[in-house]
């Protein structure tokens, strides 16, 4: 399960490789007109969303397994899971904030 999620994550990153080709082509063609901010923001948000989704998926999976093993602790597990999900989500949102800041440059 862990190897699968790491493989999935690497695959998502690999899917972003065409972005490099785009950068080089644009640098060759546009020169001063290349919008590094937009490219950076898009790349950053893609990576952040992928990492955040992977982490939240693992948290939810662990929580579901915990509740299935011990249904009596469901309330505690649910509270802890929500807290963990929100903290992971906040990291993705910090990346979104940086995207807003670099978007126009």
């Amino acid at each position: 399960m862990r190897k699968k999620s790491i493989l999935l994550f690497a695959l998502t990153l690999a899917l972003a490789v065409p972005a490099f080709a785009q950068e080089n082509a644009a640098a060759g063609a546009g020169g001063g007109g290349v919008k590094w901010g937009v490219i950076g923001a898009a790349f950053l948000l893609g990576v952040a969303a992928a990492a955040g989704a992977t982490a939240q998926g693992r948290a939810t999976a662990a929580a579901s397994e915990g509740i299935s093993r011990n249904p009596g602790a469901a309330k505690d597990i649910r509270g802890l899971t929500l807290l963990g999900l929100v903290l992971i989500e906040s990291l993705v949102l910090y990346a979104l904030l940086i995207c807003f800041l670099v978007y126009g440059k």
């Binding site: 929500l82 929100v86 989500e89 906040s90 949102l93």
Partner: protein, 254 residues
């Protein structure tokens, strides 16, 4: 994505301009002018502040009225709902800080939770703006939480002992640890405020984009997510504030 204002923004600022004249932007330095009057010369009070004052007005009218019709024998539906809310918040405070902590800390944590919950819900109405969708409000709330837990820590331990807690377990690495802990504690303001702001503003802006594309059915899932986020973010803010209070006032067993 243009600016979107509540229906109170125009009328109240027009009234204030009628009463007080234009805001004195020229008399202040550019930095101060941008701080106090972020929207320039046309507005005295920004939207977030108007919405916060409206929320305070609603609370000031609603809660005394609710308290007056408190009936211990026959609680009605409204009273039962608020009793559930208070007992839930009391459970949160007790779980996070310690048994019996609710006597001291339930007011502040409950106030933060209820204020943030209702403020976030403002984002669902088309004629209102959520006050927490503005960085000013969320940083203010985070600063309140920060000052509160620090003051409680100093009251509990004394100033030097409280600062000594930042020095870490070993004396050898104390300087490095102290710096790291101080930065981490100040980063709590940033994390609390940014988490709340980005969640509410991001959800509000996305709903706005969806509404401008397809006004009827498409924004509804985002708005359902908005209701969920409203309560969840209030819960998380209150819970983290309680955890910080616990961290500051805890007496470790030596």
């Amino acid at each position: 994505m243009g600016e979107h204002h509540s229906i109170l923004y125009g009328p109240i600022n027009a009234l204030l301009i009628r009463l007080l004249g234009e805001p004195p932007v020229e008399k202040l330095s550019p930095g101060m002018a941008a701080f106090f009057f972020p929207d320039g010369k046309e507005t005295w009070i920004p939207d977030a502040a108007i919405m916060t004052l409206l929320l305070l007005l609603i609370f000031a009218i609603f809660f005394p009225w609710l308290a007056k019709r408190y009936d211990r024998e026959k609680p009605g539906k409204l009273q039962s709902f608020f009793e559930m809310l208070v007992s839930g918040l009391r459970g949160l405070v007790d779980d996070a800080i310690g048994d019996g902590a609710h006597r001291q800390y339930l007011p502040i944590i409950g106030a933060l939770a209820v204020f943030i919950g209702c403020a976030n819900l403002f984002g669902l109405f088309f004629f209102l703006q959520p006050p927490t969708g503005s960085l000013s409000t969320t940083v203010a709330l985070a600063v309140v939480s920060f000052v509160y837990f620090n003051v409680q820590g100093v009251r509990e331990h004394g100033l030097f002992k409280y600062l000594g807690h930042f020095a870490g377990p070993m004396l050898a690495i104390a300087p490095l640890f102290f710096v790291i802990e101080i930065i981490g504690t100040f980063a709590r303001i940033l994390s609390l405020s940014l988490r709340l702001f980005m969640n509410i503003y991001g959800e509000h802006a996305t709903t706005g984009v969806f509404s401008s594309l397809v006004p009827i059915v498409v924004p509804w899932p985002m708005m359902a997510l908005g209701i969920f986020t409203a309560f969840l973010q209030a819960y998380v803010f209150a819970l983290l504030s309680a955890v910080y209070i616990q961290g500051a006032t805890a007496h470790e067993a030596h």
